[in-house]
Symmetry: C2
Subunit: 560 residues, 2 copies
């Protein structure tokens, strides 16, 4: 230690740096030298030559960025790196030690532990949560499947999304622990004490159709006339119930926040309207047929979609903040088998399977009712088919048949293949590469786009059906899969950018700038290739998967 003088360098307004189109004026302070017993001149020179200092970085002769220097070492601000290279980074803290974590990609690759099995999880879909996506408007009260707003704000049934919803639930059912199930009222052992207002009626009786005891109820038109059950259920929010409602009847589930005394009313009403919401009242139409229906509702999802409809901000962890406080029956009808569980994956899965069987058209397809704009390619007009929808549907229907033994699922899957062999210009989904390699088109534009991930998902559908059909295979799934794999192995290299992958081949078919796959699609490609490499030993699959995974950590193909 010693005595010394303070030297303060002048404050400098360093650089007006134009970076990524944004004008940044960066203010830097000069800093005091590493002072010892030396004359001022030496101190100053030391300060200028040995301290971290500022230096203007001129980027490709085009604009400047304020960098730091320490003698010959130059340090570049990460904020610039982030914009220039799209690298991600953040400061993290572990046990008080701060580090900066640099991530080339924001996405994740899953290495399959065993050979892909069409009876098992679908791809990596156990990690998907389709219904929480913003582009899912809500889960239909009538069909129990998601309604998409992806290309049409009023909402439409998008078979790809519906199948993904079903396949995600099928996969979660295999990977997640058994759900907690709480029987509220099954008419047998579990009887809850329903509260019946004076002008209402509640009876328990045997129903010959359900072959079970049910609750039959009737209320008057007065609002206070109700049959209701007070509950206090936290944590688990999937309600399932057998319900038969006469016209102008409803079931309302009341959710309450644990802390703030907020109350939300989920009304399931006899209506064909998909969803309607006003303040804390959210309405789902469950149809007008006066027959038994089985409802399985994720109440938190139903609440969140009602909020989203009113553009209310998303809440974090609503499952921890709310509880179910009551179930109210109004009008006339019957109910039975009332349960609340932590999940009901197979119910959601079979809702999707039933929708697919019901919605399949004569050509075996599920036409998409929304217009799909794919500029610079010509748009797809409502009624288009997607090979990915067909393939996902086949994957789902094959599993539904495997789990249920129901032949209708298998037949629907087999019929779904027909359109894969119909060219795009005839309403199908088949494109040809240079008249030689067939491609199942996720978006059957003319000229074709050759989307990679949708094609591979279609191949998985074919593989699934082939395996589930087994010895009694009557469909062309095997041949179609094999033909597709020939195409995939031939054209896969064209999707390699040397540092990532292309989403499609529009640059070739349309002569436009290439469409690079963002990291989550790139990760999907890698996951798909790892999966296929468990089915086919051709080294191009595993080699490409490994090389492409390397790209996600900044590796690149060699240059000459």
């Amino acid at each position: 230690m010693g005595m010394m003088m303070l030297v303060r360098l002048n404050m400098r307004v360093a650089l007006a740096a134009l970076c990524g189109g944004v004008l940044l004026v960066t203010l830097y302070w000069g800093r005091c030298g590493d002072l010892t017993h030396r004359p001022i001149s030496s101190v100053l020179s030391n300060a200028l030559s040995e301290r971290p200092d500022e230096i203007e970085c001129v980027i490709n002769g085009e604009y400047s960025v304020a960098c730091r220097r320490d003698q010959d070492l130059v340090y570049v601000p990460f904020s610039f790196i982030h914009k220039y290279f799209e690298i991600y980074g953040k400061i993290t803290s572990t046990d008080g030690v701060e580090k900066f974590e640099w991530s080339h990609s924001y996405s994740k690759v899953y290495h399959p532990k065993k050979k892909y099995d069409p009876r098992g999880t679908f791809a990596t879909f156990e990690n998907y949560n389709v219904e929480v996506r913003d582009r899912v408007k809500c889960i239909s009260g009538i069909d129990g499947v998601p309604v998409s707003t992806q290309w049409e704000p009023k909402g439409f049934f998008y078979p790809t999304q519906i199948a993904q919803f079903g396949l995600a639930h099928y996969s979660k059912n295999l990977t997640e622990p058994e759900p907690r199930v709480r029987v509220l009222d099954d008419g047998e052992k579990s009887h809850e004490n329903w509260i019946v207002s004076t002008d209402a009626v509640l009876t328990r009786e045997y129903d010959s159709e359900l072959k079970a005891n049910v609750l039959r109820f009737a209320t008057t038109d007065r609002v206070s006339s109700q049959v209701w059950l007070k509950v206090n259920i936290s944590q688990d929010f999937v309600l399932s119930i057998d319900l038969m409602l006469k016209l102008n009847s409803s079931m309302t589930v009341v959710l309450q926040s644990k802390e703030k005394k907020e109350t939300v009313y989920l009304h399931y009403v006899t209506s064909m309207q998909l969803i309607y919401a006003q303040e804390d009242h959210i309405y789902y139409g469950i149809g007008v047929d006066q027959k038994w229906r089985h409802l399985t509702r994720d109440l938190i999802i139903d609440m969140q979609k009602g909020w989203a409809l009113q553009d209310r901000p998303k809440r974090k962890s609503p499952r921890n903040k709310f509880k179910i406080s009551s179930i109210i029956l109004s009008g006339r009808g019957a109910a039975g088998n009332v349960r609340v569980s932590s999940s009901a994956h197979m119910a959601h899965f079979f809702a999707a399977a039933r929708w697919l069987v019901g919605a399949q058209r004569a050509r075996g397809g599920w036409p998409v009712g929304a217009r799909r704009r794919l500029a610079p390619a010509p748009e797809l007009r409502p009624g288009w088919h997607s090979a990915m929808s067909q393939g996902h549907a086949v994957s789902l229907l094959a599993r539904a048949h495997y789990r249920s033994g129901d032949g209708r699922y298998l037949q629907a899957a087999q019929r779904a293949l027909d359109l894969l062999d119909v060219p795009s210009h005839k309403g199908g989904v088949k494109a040809m590469w240079m008249d030689k390699y067939l491609w199942y088109e996720e978006y059957p534009t003319k000229p074709p786009l050759f989307v990679l991930n949708g094609f591979i998902y279609t191949l998985l559908g074919l593989y699934d059906l082939h395996v589930i059909e087994g010895e009694n295979s009557i469909s062309p799934a095997k041949k179609m899969f094999d033909d597709g794999m020939v195409s995939l192995k031939a054209l896969l290299p064209l999707f390699d950018t040397g540092s990532g992958s292309f989403y499609d081949l529009r640059h070739f078919t349309l002569g436009v700038s290439p469409n690079i796959a963002r990291w989550d699609y790139h990760a999907t490609h890698v996951n798909q290739l790892y999966l296929l490499s468990s089915l086919d030993p051709d080294p191009i699959l595993i080699n490409t998967a490994k090389r492409w995974e390397g790209y996600m950590k900044g590796k690149r193909a060699a240059h000459n």
Copy 2:
């Protein structure tokens, strides 16, 4: 200013950082805080929270790099950026102000100012200096063209290199100022005083073949028996001379360094040996025919190649450090028209043209005598043809015909087209893409590689010949060019990586990792596309050129 205490933070051995495969142990010194009258604790906390400090950057969870931080701002060392992204940078100083210049690419694009003209410069070759390249062993004393060591250390005539040598000189002749020419002895107006030793003879006489006065000389076998001319020529080093030597005769040019008294002897001897060098004596065989020959030698190149043969280090700017001090004639022979000039581009150009006419084989090709290894593709065995050689030769021969009117050049160019229509497996250079698009192969491997730059150079040859042939066109050059342009426009997008270009399409034809073009080849692609866009208005050419030029400044194609 005020009094204060010095606080020195502990020295820290910061990070053992594994970077680019190399273990770096980086030593950092803590630095003194920005001290004022505050208690130590506050000073310390200030030092830790407000100073540029160190922070460990964890790169993709794989290894660490020592970064700096200033509160929430993180600064990454450029040395790491350089390795990770292959970005180039250096500190430059202008008027005492130091800046750091960041370069995405090290290569340069030339924007053509006018439409490409086959009578004018070839591509951007006025910037080429073929003979100084390391892979040029020397300029043949017999043929006046370069000998390549690119794939064969003992040296071979590589038609592509010879044509590039000629085309570069043709282009320089158009873009450079007229050369300075100094006539040393033309037998007429300029007479130098040759020094003749007592046992030697020098006479001036008229030569009926050259139709000029020449020097006839004879010396004895004694070393001291010489005819020599003392000169003192700096700056210009291209010697041209008409020379006729009997066996065991020679011309020696003596070069001397201006400062260091270094002396180098360039011996041009009657021998078939290409080059031989021992210490300061460098020998070039000029053949054994006892007839007139015209030599044009860049003496500095001849000296440097002699040094390179002895693995001597390269010198910087030898043209500024040496002078020509004498020219010595030994043995028996005659000489005339002795000149020294700053350049003799057209002499070099026509040397290449003559070589091409003389070396062309029956099939119209210039087979390459060296084995070409192109792993992972099968190697090309000696005798292979290159579409790029053929195309470059055509470009050169068309210009030679245009400049000389000599029909032999035109015929050689026309015959050179034949092999472009012969498939690679039949010894030609034509490949087909998916049985649909033809490609002229720079390296006609099986399977094909589809090298881009060589293909475009071949197209230029076809265009050149078509234009030079003009109205009297008899060759298929036009149709071959048009067919090639169809292929180019169709396949060009496949060379687009979204951030650069591929050198070839080996990833497609061999199923291997793609071969990215390094920046100088990428710049060649861009230059070629700008050139072609002056000939063909199809927007894909100019759009691709612009997009690819953007990649050289860090722009990328969009991702979805």
